[in-house]
Symmetry: C2
Subunit: 411 residues, 2 copies
């Protein structure tokens, strides 16, 4: 059984967090100078672990194991959210590095190759899971040409500035791998609340997103009588309220429901206290691991919008924004992680969905895939204060290595 070195894992995570350090977290957007420098550092670490290290045309860092007879692709992303946490992504990359070292050092693992990867831009600074999509299904020239950051920098320019322009885009050969394995922080507090140390991901939720636009009539808030108004803000809050109510009823029909829904973004125009809003917009999102559930929510949403539009006085339109499908994790991979967890933290692990999106949902379209979670303190995520206990980081690495060994040895 390959043995991980917890001290080395913590040291590598701390070193990686130096690239773009912000308070106790990290600010390392994709293709920023800190991100580029950290990818170069990963190349060195992968090479030192005996892997053939390369950065491809989209910025993915691969550490290849050319002589292995069976290979498992292991990794996560290495850039961070703006002023994000030090472990989100980094944990899975450093675990992959540690597994490569542990497997190389264990004679019983001869012929079993860990190929480490640090995906580019899972966090979507330039596009949704750019690196893993480029690898798994390729990015069109249209998308590459059009993509830009929130600040308006073109992806092509960012790649050129990073020195990646002109490099080949690595593409998946499914025959090369037994599968894909990813470790990540939970980003929620289910494990912590239950006093558990390992989460075995059963499925990654699909996330369906819609943009709703209410068109009314902008007017003076003092001189426009109520019966003459077409108040887009009023229509929006009524619709938003109805959506929450209907979604809660839908979720309530299923006592096991872990569906979540969010109206996180609302814009009124002109958003001034003495002006009747002429236009109002909101984004509606819901997530579940079951496509049938997602379809029920979508149908209910369309119904509510159509009814609100018919009832007037404002016009209400709905447009789909993005729709990721739920991704089931391979059942044998789940069993391997569970078995490893039971050995190291008996009874202190659980099967659970991933409410957040991950590169594994992209890889799962072409490879058997598995995901393992370690706890997030207080469930904090996408914030510089995100953290995980050192013991959990250390134990997680060992469980992860044991699971990888079981998977690679399973024939």
């Amino acid at each position: 059984m390959p043995t991980t070195d917890g001290g080395r894992v913590l040291a590598d995570l701390r070193r990686l967090a130096e690239f773009g350090r912000y308070k106790t977290g990290v600010h390392r957007p994709t293709y920023s100078p800190d991100d580029i420098a950290s990818r170069e550092w990963l190349v060195q670490q992968f090479a030192a672990a005996g892997l053939e290290a390369v950065i491809d045309g989209i910025g993915n860092v691969f550490g290849r194991s050319p002589c292995a007879s069976r290979r498992l692709l292991v990794g996560s992303h290495s850039e961070t959210q703006p002023h994000g946490g030090w472990l989100d992504g980094a944990l899975g990359v450093v675990y992959a590095l540690e597994l490569a070292r542990a497997f190389a050092a264990d004679p019983a693992c001869a012929g079993l190759g860990i190929e480490a990867v640090a995906w580019a831009d899972e966090e979507g600074h330039y596009g949704n899971m750019l690196g893993s999509r480029s690898f798994t299904e390729g990015l069109s020239a249209t998308e590459l040409d059009a993509a830009q950051s929130r600040e308006g920098k073109a992806l092509r320019q960012a790649l050129a500035d990073a020195g990646y322009a002109g490099r080949p885009y690595a593409r998946l050969d499914p025959a090369r791998y037994v599968g894909y394995l990813e470790a990540h922080i939970e980003q929620g507090s289910m494990l912590e609340q239950a006093g558990q140390h390992i989460g075995i991901v059963e499925a990654i939720v699909g996330s369906w997103n819609y943009w709703i636009t209410v068109s009314g009539e902008q007017n003076h808030a003092g001189t426009t009588e109520m019966h003459r108004r077409k108040d887009a803000g009023l229509a929006l809050v009524q619709l938003a309220s109805a959506i929450h109510e209907r979604f809660a009823a839908l979720a309530g029909q299923d006592r096991q429901s872990r569906t979540v829904w969010t109206i996180g973004r609302i814009l009124l125009d002109p958003n001034a206290p003495s002006i009747v809003p002429g236009r109002a917009e909101m984004q509606v999102q819901f997530r579940d691991t079951d496509t049938a559930v997602l379809e029920r929510f979508a149908a209910a949403l369309h119904q509510l919008v159509a009814a609100a539009d018919r009832s007037g006085p404002c016009r209400i339109a709905i447009a789909p924004l993005s729709k990721s499908l739920p991704a089931a994790m391979d059942s044998r991979f789940q069993a391997a992680i569970e078995q490893a967890a039971e050995r190291h933290v008996p009874g202190r692990h659980r099967r659970m969905p991933s409410g957040a999106g991950h590169d594994a949902q992209v890889l799962a379209r072409r490879l058997r895939s598995g995901m393992m979670f370690v706890p997030s303190i207080g469930g904090v995520s996408h914030h510089w204060s995100e953290d995980t206990g050192e013991d959990d980081i250390v134990i997680g690495a060992q469980v992860f290595a044991a699971a990888a060994a079981t998977i690679l040895q399973a024939g």
Copy 2:
């Protein structure tokens, strides 16, 4: 009867609109170079009309009539909203100028003085009705020191840059005037819809404003289960929806109700699609001419906020922002305007409230006051496309002069 010159009124309005012209409207914020230049131009016009013209320490332009035995203060404000209309404020100032000329030219008006005024900053670039409040009740040094524009420029600095610093602040001597008369565009479409030409204002509404803050817990929209959320955005839309419903019920109890209410400003934090909002805020405003009605709405609002706060899971707080009291217009002034309107546009006038605030509501605290409206095309207001038909502008001036004569002659 003093006779106004419609062509001269239109020419003056068009000349005044040159200061800060923007498309077919005007961009002339208070104390901007265009505003300062326009006030100098008004000094010249007031002087040419035989008035003693002066700009005081807050920027009010007065045209005094020292030899008259009875005086009526007549005017409006001369700055505009950002990219606002050409008549909002300007119409009442140019009418005042025209009345001064018409009265001076009419031997029957000997001894009757029109004192013209162009108030500063009714539109609140630096403070709420600064000029008329300075004149009527004085501004405290504290307010003068603290006031600043939305862009952060200090009022003291703006006054110094305008060349007004160190000038005396003119203060009202109530014994000097029979009263105050103001003409203004309606800023609504009640007159236009009814095919009428003159509005006789019965009262200016009071406007009560509140800021509501919802404190929840910011969380990841994928990993935070619904039952663990404290979604400030959800609490806000539910409360906003309940406020609209309760206010509509309250207004419905009174079939004559002209109460209006508006939630024009909503802010979510961080307002991102995949983050459960941790904080949400909104401004709630309602207006009526009856203080008892305003008090009923305020009580209902506080009740709803307290109930929403109690029901959890978010904390909800309410803070008063500003509260202007309704101002009744003098009944004899109303009668004088109505009588003049009936002579020039028989049957085509109406008594009505003013849903917008005006300097007249400040003057009314110390002087008998009256207000007259001319129609706004399409009810458009606070937008560069605001306009009024030329015929309505010309007839309005004559009705206004006739009303002023009746008031001054009434002894």
